[in-house]
Amino acid sequence: MQRIGVFVCWCGSNIAGTVDVQAVSDALAHEPGVVHSANYQYMCSQAGQNLIKEAIEEHKLTGIVVCSCSPRMHEATFRKTAAAAGLNPYMVEIANIREQCSWVHKDMATGTEKAIILGKAAVAKVNLNAPLTPGESPVTKRALVIGGGIAGIQTALDIADAGFPVDIVETKPTIGGKMAQLDKTFPTLDCAACILTPKMVDVAQNENIRIFSYSEVTDIKGFVGNFDVTIKKRARYVKEDICTGCGLCTEKCPMKNVPNEFNLGMDNRRAIYIPFAQAVPKVATIDPEHCNMLKNGKCGVCAKVCAAGAIDYKQQDEYISEKYGAIVAATGFNPISMDKFDEYAYSQSKDVITSLEFERLTNAAGPSSGHLVCPSDGRHPHTIVFVQCVGSRCASCSEKGKEYCSKICCMYTAKHAMLTRDKYPDTEVYVFYIDVRTPGKNFDEFYRRAAEEYGVKYIKGMVGKVSPENGKLHVQASDLLADKQLHIEADLVVLAAAIEPDKSARPLATMLTASMDTNDFFTEAHPKLRPVESPTAGVFLSGACQGPKDIPETVSQAGAAAAKVIGLLAKDKLTGNPCVANSNELMCNGCSSCERVCPYGAITYVDKEFRMPDRTTKVRRVASVNEAVCQGCGACTVACPSGAMDLKGFATKQIIAEVDAICK
């Protein structure tokens, strides 16, 4: 029989205003097992906690019930309190009489009655609680960063600097990500390459970092501290360790007309290529789709010109298995497709471009060597129209774009407009906006400078239609403040396309058993308090895969994720959640139902010898739970017809005791 102490919190007037706390503690004092019942103004305060500690000692309590706010608020607090007084923390149950009682009911009588019933349910449960001890598991001191953009780079560098080995897996032939494609960065206008490429070099040179470029993660098993990951290193047909990155092959390759994805298809590359000059690793890659040698067995020019002998047409995909203690998702973003925005004539005219294409056009290493030209004919554009919120802030019912604000467009559009006016004062630049959102350090100043000093014409309104006419673009738009419809003959239209998570994020989330929101952004464990952690233990989030963000934000989140990873890897052992499934082997009939529903693969089967009541022995196949892997969802408990599978902390008997108490 338990000796239970009940502690009813007033929460100032939050509870006591609607619940007669004295009546609650009096009523619960008569419940079976209860030997002490008290109430106090603020149970979570130091004084309140001391009250609990003293009672545990004085009344030799074996379990306590705290009637207070939601367990989501203070369950951990009271568990620590209990532990400090020598009581197993899992002998604590919380009756939520604030969020689920005093705050939703107005009448004192009903509130009090409900609080008593909730208290009784908690007492009934504690009566069946058993002390639980979390299991321990070792930590593999190596981290995996998935995605080699600025987010992944920064996370990897920070982890490596703390002395832990890190692997970066990047699907592209080089790390660098979107930032490598940018020209300048707002609001300081420093050149993206100038600040990014040194970091890329740092990564390459860091002894603690391995880069798996042109690779992808194909399988993840295991759990926090002990992930088993399979990485598919795609064949690039070039021996990475031998290639010097001299680039001769990329000049001699006869396949000249491969669209260059780095420049968003605005120019061409060869079948063997290095994405850009500062690529890391600076190694050539053969594009098997376009290489004549790989397709038809004819050519072999690159092998002939390669002095190092790095070309290997027979190279195969390689699968690497590695163990990691922590995984960071840094899969980044992409602009959305413009397919559904036909009104802007993106598919009809080469002179309608996205902002990322604009970045490449103005980048000195871009297809036009930094000269701002119309992609259709190379002429200098005199009138440029920027359209904001293309696909951002769309109602879900419109099914065209995204409901969220893409956050970065206002600022990069201001940057583009400003840079254009700075470099080409003869251009007319219009920016059509719905709202200009500039909450960031020096952001609004930047935007105002574009409008005030650089003469960018900011027009409140939207472009309704763009139509190519006589080599020009006829832009029809509204100017809401002037209450006019505008008709502009533009040379170039730049669309600030909404951004969305990379397509690889969804399958990765499935492998990680990490949750995602409806937009396929990774969900954080807590939107405010745990913003860089996934709810799945050991999985962390860095950069735009968690939500739209700019470079400074990405870098700070990347650092934060690294700090969390370092905190994890610094531990030798992890203590798990003790509320895990356990199988009563005597009852288990080995039917495999539980194994099939377990999302974590925590259940395996073993043949065990049993001594039967009739003094014979028999060998039976029974389920066995890996407590370090089990996350305690309880799916197995219902799949099990014989009731052999139960969940510690949420045992069938405990839940039924609660049901009984509530239904009295």
Partner: protein
């Protein structure tokens, strides 16, 4: 009068099925409207005026009949507000309240020229009569 206008407002909202509160004032409807120049009140203003209850001027405005019901605004509105349906709903209110049609069937032949497509006739009849 105020009461009556409120009644019209709620009737317009109910009949059109449009929630003008969804409008984020981007003006894309007006940017897209082919009849913009003919209209006294433009699509985005329609939405705002219905939302704010400023319906009286709309009832008197010719804009009601200038809307071509081409649905470009409906197609392009990023928030799914559907301004054309609002215009139609206001128009219907006016037509009903007048007790007669905006265009009499008899007066139609005079307005027809040879190039007018059959479709336009039918849609005009639908639009201008009860």
């Amino acid at each position: 009068m105020k009461k009556e206008l409120e009644a019209i407002q709620s009737e317009v909202i109910r009949r059109s099925g449009v929630n003008p509160k969804k409008c984020m004032r981007c003006g894309k409807c007006s940017g897209t409207c082919p009849a913009y120049d003919q209209m006294e009140y433009h699509p985005h203003q329609f939405v705002y005026m219905v939302e704010s209850g400023d319906i009286e001027p709309l009832l008197k405005s010719d804009s009601l009949y200038q809307c071509l019901t081409c649905f470009a605004c409906v197609d392009r509105c990023p928030r799914g507000v559907e301004p054309a349906k609002l215009v139609e709903a206001v128009r219907l209110q006016v037509v009903r309240r007048q007790g007669n049609n905006h265009l009499k069937t008899d007066s139609i032949p005079a307005l027809i020229d040879e190039d007018m497509p059959q479709q336009a006739l039918v849609s005009a009849l639908r639009k201008y009569s009860k």
